[in-house]
Amino acid sequence: MKRTAFTWLLWLWIAAVIVGAFDYAPLAARFIGQSSRILFFHVPMAWAAFTAFVTAGVYSLRYLFGARQPDGLRDPRHDRAARAAIELGLLFGVLATVTGAIWSRIMWGSWWNWDPRQTSIVMALIFNGAYLALRDAVEDAEKRARLAAAYAALGLAVTPFFFFVVPRITFSLHPEPVINASGRVEMESRMLQVLLASGAGFTALFFWLHRLRTGLLALADRALAAAPRAALAPAAASRAPVASTE
């Protein structure tokens, strides 16, 4: 009941953000046409992708170094949570990249400019893709979880360098972040309200989807564990009449 209420509240919130983005917030100065409205979705998507990345790193660390199960094995729930976060990070990362490219085409005249934030998000996407490729390359479930968790933790260790190094090296055309180097919030109040509401909405959306995906992966694991028994049962049944005809 509580969960249903939360889901409905989330959809209402997102709907209100959409209405607010197109009707309540004013257009930003020096932006071509209506292009500034994409900001209310593009920035929260990038934020959700970042949240997903950190979530995956934290769950991976918990998988590797957290409390073990009574049988001495590592807790597979943390592995499923890390994998789900990486998959969602890929989804939100692609959405942020596409919305960013659309905006870039309108404002800068080209789809891609190797802007520092574009570089960072592409590297995050490649990292997420590499994580999933690694998972596909290992057959044993425990080994797969352990190696993937170690790789995600390594990614977490080098992440700060993407945020501090890449923007410093490359010239950026990107609009100033909401809270800039001087620590001041420079945005029209209604725009800021919608942006913050959208940020909160997308963060909640990420965690809602994450819970769903983690549950789905748990079901898939349970089905896989039961699969050998189910697969053997019909085989045994089909062998019986063959044996009787001989």
């Binding site: 490649i126 690694l134 425990e142 080994k143 190696l147 170690a150 790789y151 390594l154 890449v166 410093r168």
Partner: protein, 228 residues
């Protein structure tokens, strides 16, 4: 389980010596790294023309090529160290003989010496073939040392991961590239400074911090990668 420091050092030194003994028997990594680097250097040099890149632009473009040659040569030779253990089924014996941290440091020292040799070969050749003059040789040496260290540390951990997976060769490049990109960007920026005479600024400190972060992560994560 903690062991005395002298035992740990002996284990790490033994792993390092074993790596070089095995390497000198087959010379697989030495041949791969050296020939791959020289072949790539010849291709790059021939592609840019007999006199090197256009004067005035060479300082901008050539550092990228130098670090790409080093990265891909490392990717061709370094994973072998762990893949070989899995293929010859010596990994279990190694697990019994040395603590994971000593093993990691022994393998890291081997990768470091291999990369130092590669840089000693490629660096002067690159400068000669491309007609480059170095305005700040000290900065170039520091960049090659710090960049090489980070490359070795990142590659050692990724090599330990991919050795236990399928499709090892291609997987190494896929997994190591996102991890090594900050190192490449910083090294390229510093090498540009060394060629053009610009000050290193914060980049050298950031590169050393990156090395520290990757080595710490390696020491922390290697035991869980190596031991089931």
């Amino acid at each position: 389980m903690s062991r005395p420091a002298s035992t740990w050092t002996r284990e790490a030194a033994a792993v390092f010596a074993k790596e070089w003994r095995c390497e000198l028997r087959t010379r697989y990594a030495l041949n791969t790294l050296a020939l791959f680097a020289i072949n790539t250097l010849v291709v790059v040099s021939a592609g840019l023309g007999p006199l090197g890149a256009v004067r005035g632009q060479s300082g901008e473009t050539l550092p990228v090529l130098l670090w790409l040659i080093l990265l891909f040569a490392a990717a061709a030779g370094l994973p072998r160290s762990f893949v070989h253990e899995e293929e010859t089924q010596t990994a279990t014996a190694l697990r019994l003989a040395a603590t994971p941290s000593a093993l990691f440091c022994g393998k890291l020292a081997y990768a470091l010496t291999l990369l130092a040799g590669l840089e000693a070969l490629v660096g002067p050749l690159f400068l000669a073939v491309m007609n480059l003059e170095v305005a700040r040789p000290g900065l170039l040496a520091a960049t090659l040392a710090a960049g090489g260290f980070g490359l070795a540390a990142g590659s050692t951990l990724v090599a330990a991961i991919i050795a236990q997976a399928r499709g090892k060769g291609t997987l190494f490049a896929v997994l190591s590239f996102p991890v090594l990109l900050p190192l490449l960007l910083l090294s390229v920026e510093l090498t540009r400074g060394a060629f053009g005479g610009g000050p290193p600024g914060m980049a050298l400190i950031q590169l050393i911090l990156y090395d520290g972060a990757v080595t710490t992560a390696g020491l922390m994560l290697f035991p869980v990668v190596w031991n089931p």
